[in-house]
Amino acid sequence: MPHLEFEGQQYEVDEDGYLTDWQAWKEGMAQVMAQQDGLTLTSEHWEIIKFLREYFIKFQIAPMIKILVKELGKAMGPEKGNTKYLYELFPAGPAKQACRFAGLPKPTGCV
């Protein structure tokens, strides 16, 4: 199994680089993962990552993009509540990339 090296410790990730235990996540990991993807996290990224974590803690699944867009729009206005904005922040896709940074598993099934 591959690992993520963080602050001298090894954390288990799956073949696609997702943390296998979402509770093992530490804030700094997001930056490490982002660096590997050639991104620097800004406060805009963090707004999303924090929203994802909070949603996951409440619902035990990452939100669908529709919910993410809607909630962002409500909280931060229409200029942030759209898919284009999310893709600008997370070029590999908000569902995949942002969830990985947030230490959350990706959904499986007929999706």
Binding site: M1, D14, I61, M64, K96, T108, G109, C110, V111
Partner: protein
């Protein structure tokens, strides 16, 4: 890993290797297989040999006596299922199936010819279960079960979507899907499942649906649907959950709760049920029509499917209305009664709106939503404004499981023709019983195997492209959640610009409801034709 460009992927080499198939080892290649099933998922449902393993590593961490387990398992199933034995025995290798498989057409790998894919297991069967194979070995088409042979069987068992297009053309009627189903069952005895199946199976056993949606998550999602629908129609739908005494239990694939464009299908259904004033309930437990257990083993399929009836019994409903799902119907239609017998605690389904008795659902008490809706239309119970779908030029993809699996062909077409004005069929040899698979069925719709998905999706996408060019089709409709997920990726790659929809999304758009406000958008929030700028 970036996928090759369409024009590169479409350059397919059909020339077989010089060496015979037994002497040509399988090359396990990234992009063609799914990740290994996770230990915790296997453990959760008690599947054998849970451990961390990786496909590309040499050691798959098999049990010490793996060969014995596999061969014993094979013998047991050959004796138990007469069809399986027959399918292994009677193939004359005529090759009628060879070029019918979407994976072979789109990939050119001879081991994806259904005849040869089945031969991978058949050769092992001959070696250990037939006298000629035991004595004559290779001459009789038999071979020993080595680790490499096992890996080859695994690799190709998860490059078959169990769509059964090959069996349609087999002069003997051999169902290669059944061979794949049992090959996967045998592989599962050794802990060789894939993550995209094992994960949903464990989720489904825990929460009642593949995604692992918990009751409050489902409720929250429906609240959002209701909000959106209120914005679009001015009408507030009030779905109920786990309501005892409701007349009908509605079960749909959980993908339709969670992933676009399936969510719009659920929204269309919500509008329809509201307009009818239907006495129905959703269940947060029987919250999955699909059954990834069916892609694992017969036993697992039974275990996951049983929740629907347990819930129907608990809620004391009269009958079950099933949604736009593919393999759910195969399970219901072909396996259900053998597993669970007649459902005596339910009533024979009768539409409360039209009084129609669904004779065909007499034994399993489950009606397909397209049967239900087409009956409503036939009896003039719905007020439909087709012109609301005038921006759509629609074609229809038959799901393998509903078309080949249960002969369900006319109802969705009848509905589509009543809710939109522009409907064009794809070529006859790519629809109805001869439909091409979406390319990702039977639990293969992961992302790491995208190359094989796109290859398998090529024949269907090619037919879509034909109607796009000929008639200007811009919407591919279907009645299966895997289709909606898989075709979205496939047409986006092969026929960009084409979108995917469920049939009941279009119903929801066309449905004129009592007391609704003037509709200006469709269920996706896009302007209706002629309403741009309003």
């Amino acid at each position: 890993m970036a996928n090759p460009k369409p024009e590169e992927l479409a350059r397919i080499e059909y020339k077989p290797p010089k060496t015979g198939w037994m002497d040509t080892p399988a090359e396990i290649r990234k992009g063609m297989f799914c990740h290994a099933g996770k230990s915790k998922s296997l453990e959760y449902v008690g599947l054998p040999n849970p451990r961390q393993w990786t496909v590309m590593e040499e050691d798959w961490k098999l049990p010490e006596n793996w060969q014995e387990i596999f061969i014993e398992g094979l013998r047991e199933r050959v004796n138990k299922f007469r069809s399986f034995r027959l399918f292994l025995d009677i193939c004359v290798r005529c090759g009628a199936c060879a070029d019918k498989c979407h994976f072979y057409i789109g990939g050119g790998d001879p081991k994806n010819m259904p005849v040869l894919r089945a031969e991978l297991l058949r050769s092992v069967y001959r070696k250990y279960c037939t006298t000629s194979g035991k004595i004559m070995g290779k001459i009789a088409g038999a071979r020993e079960l080595t680790v490499d042979v096992l890996k080859e069987i695994w690799y190709y068992a998860y490059q078959c979507t169990e769509c059964r297009r090959c069996s349609l053309f087999c002069p003997y009627g051999i169902d290669t899907a059944e061979i794949t189903i049992l090959a996967r069952e045998l592989l599962n005895l050794l802990g060789l499942n894939i993550d995209w199946i094992a994960g949903p199976v464990a989720n489904c056993y825990r929460t009642g649906n593949h995604l692992g949606l918990q009751p409050h998550t489902i409720k929250d999602t429906f609240d959002m649907f209701a909000d959106d629908l209120e914005t679009f129609t001015g009408i507030r739908v009030n779905p109920t959950f786990n309501r005892k005494g409701a007349e009908i239990l509605v079960v749909v694939p959980s993908g339709d709760f969670f992933a676009d464009p399936g969510t719009y299908t659920t929204m269309g259904e919500l509008l329809l049920f509201h307009e009818l004033g239907l006495d129905y309930t959703w269940s947060t437990y029987a919250s999955e029509g699909g059954d990834f257990g069916f892609f694992t083993s017969n036993e697992m399929a039974k275990r996951l499917h049983s929740k629907i009836y347990a819930e129907a019994k608990r809620l004391k409903v009269k009958w079950i209305l099933g949604g736009e799902c593919g393999h759910m119907w195969r399970v219901w239609h072909q396996y259900h009664n053998t597993w669970f017998g007649p459902m005596d605690f339910l009533e024979e389904p009768v539409s409360p709106i039209t009084g129609t008795k669904f004779e065909n659902a007499k034994s399993n008490k489950t009606v397909h939503i397209c049967e239900f809706t087409s009956d409503l239309i036939k009896n003039g119970k719905l007020n439909l404004d087709k012109s609301r779908n005038d921006d759509l030029v629609v074609t229809f993809h038959d799901s393998c499981n509903t078309s080949r699996g249960m002969g369900f062909l006319e109802e969705p077409r009848y509905i589509i023709n009543n809710v939109c004005n522009k409907f064009y069929e794809m070529p006859p040899n790519t629809i109805r019983e001869q439909t091409f698979c979406c390319g990702s069925g039977s639990g293969l719709n992961a992302s790491e195997n995208m190359e094989i998905r796109l290859r398998g999706g090529l024949p269907r996408a090619n037919a879509v492209k034909h109607v796009v060019q000929k008639y200007g089709v811009n919407m591919l409709s279907c009645i299966c959640a895997i289709d909606r997920a898989a075709l979205t990726a496939s047409v986006d790659y092969w026929v960009p610009g084409t979108r995917v929809t469920g049939v009941h999304e279009m119903v929801g758009n066309a449905l004129v409801m009592k007391g609704e406000k003037k509709r200006t958008t469709n269920l996706r929030g896009d302007p209706l034709p002629g309403m741009e700028g309003e």
